[in-house]
């Protein structure tokens, strides 16, 4: 994928993260009632809407973070082969996604 498209995705995931994390904060910590009780968490965990919500939050967060890390590595060590950086971060991203997605999926 071209650098421009990767950058566009970085901006989109940045805006998405703002919305997702904002919603998560409001629902889990700022809304009235007891959103952090075991019952309310179990209720959200069994909802397909919240499963999709947290999987998307994970994808957006992972992409945004790993792309940012890629930029830092590329700028810090410009001579490092691009393939090494991309494959390392891509593999790490898939592994983290698999592990992190397992939690809400298993709780569903």
């Amino acid at each position: 994928m071209s650098e421009t498209r990767l950058k566009i995705l970085q901006y989109i995931t940045g805006i998405g993260l703002f919305l997702f994390v904002g919603t998560h904060l409001v629902i889990s910590h700022l809304s009235s009632g007891e959103p952090t009780t075991w019952e309310s968490i179990a209720e959200r965990a069994s909802s397909s809407f919240w499963l999709a919500f947290y999987i998307l939050l994970l994808i957006f967060g992972l992409y945004h973070g790993l792309h940012g890390l890629r930029t830092i590595i590329t700028e810090s060590i410009p001579t490092l082969p691009a393939k090494v950086v991309d494959w390392t971060l891509g593999t790490a991203g898939i592994a983290i996604f698999g592990y992190a997605a397992y939690i809400p999926i298993s709780a569903f």
């Binding site: 650098e3 421009t4 590329t74 410009p78 001579t79």
Partner: protein
């Protein structure tokens, strides 16, 4: 008579391990520029001092140097404007040093060449053998003329913090010129230049520090050109870029004015 102290970088590869500073004290003349100070040193004090200069009027871009820690054209910098009688002159940073104040601008020209800084015409025959001019409106000219004032002095590249950390970064001069040609309606090389600017060391490495625009002696504003290039490339990636209509070839004039006659000699 008021005097000036010039602290000049000296370096002779093969002899010196690293650049060092040598001090010269010269008399101040009214309206003196830094370049004139260096010429005075070379002509009267040390003829081995090396620096590059040509036009002495801010047009050729040869005398780019780091003057009191800011990249400037030596011929375009009156010493009075510096507000001090101690002037430190070094070769341009982010470029290898050939000798004393002479920076090797080779990397700049290589990067500049890579974005094909010339009109790539769709009509190859017309481009090879020009029969007429390509028409262009004043408004179209306004869209890029500011960026066409670049004199390739390298000051923007010397000021750029990203070039300082990544020598492979195309840099403000190259990216600014890429935008200049991409906006020209006579040009059909947008895709090639976008491809080049879309590299890992291309347009997205620019963090908009703005140092290039501050340093540019010709008011080119490369930072603006880079932002406009980014916008055009995003539109292109999202299939939103409006294709330029190729500039039409002007019809040859049907009638021409008569030549003005040579005036009679007044002295016989």
């Amino acid at each position: 008579m008021q005097e000036l102290t010039f602290k000049v970088q000296r370096y002779l590869p093969g002899k010196d391990k690293r650049p060092y500073i040598q001090e010269f004290t010269i008399p101040l003349r009214q309206g003196m520029t830094v370049l004139e100070g260096l010429i005075h040193i070379k002509e009267n004090m040390d003829n081995t001092l090396s620096f590059r200069s040509s036009c002495r009027m801010g047009i050729c871009g040869s005398c780019g140097m780091l003057i009191n820690n800011f990249p400037m054209l030596a011929c375009h910098t009156p010493v009075e404007e510096l507000g001090t009688d101690r002037i430190e002159v070094r070769s341009l940073p982010n470029f290898p040093v050939i000798r004393d104040l002479v920076a090797d601008l080779g990397p700049l020209f290589e990067k500049h060449k890579s974005i094909k800084p010339y009109i790539i015409s769709l009509d190859v025959e017309e481009a090879e053998v020009l029969t007429a001019e390509f028409l262009q409106s004043g408004q179209e000219l306004e869209g890029y003329v500011q960026f066409a004032y670049c004199v390739k002095c390298g000051l923007c590249m010397a000021a750029c913090p990203t070039v300082a950390t990544d020598a492979l970064f195309l840099g403000p001069q190259t990216l600014g010129q890429a935008y200049r040609y991409c906006t020209d309606r006579r040009d059909a090389g947008v895709e090639e230049r976008f491809h080049q600017a879309d590299s890992r060391h291309g347009v997205w490495l620019c963090h908009l520090a703005g140092a290039c625009s501050e340093a540019c002696p010709k008011g080119v504003d490369p930072a603006l050109a880079i932002q406009l290039l980014k916008r055009a490339m995003v539109a292109d990636s999202l299939w939103l870029r409006r294709k330029k209509k190729p500039a039409p070839v002007a019809q040859p004039p049907t009638e021409s004015k008569q030549k003005i006659a040579v005036p009679e000699f007044t002295v016989k």
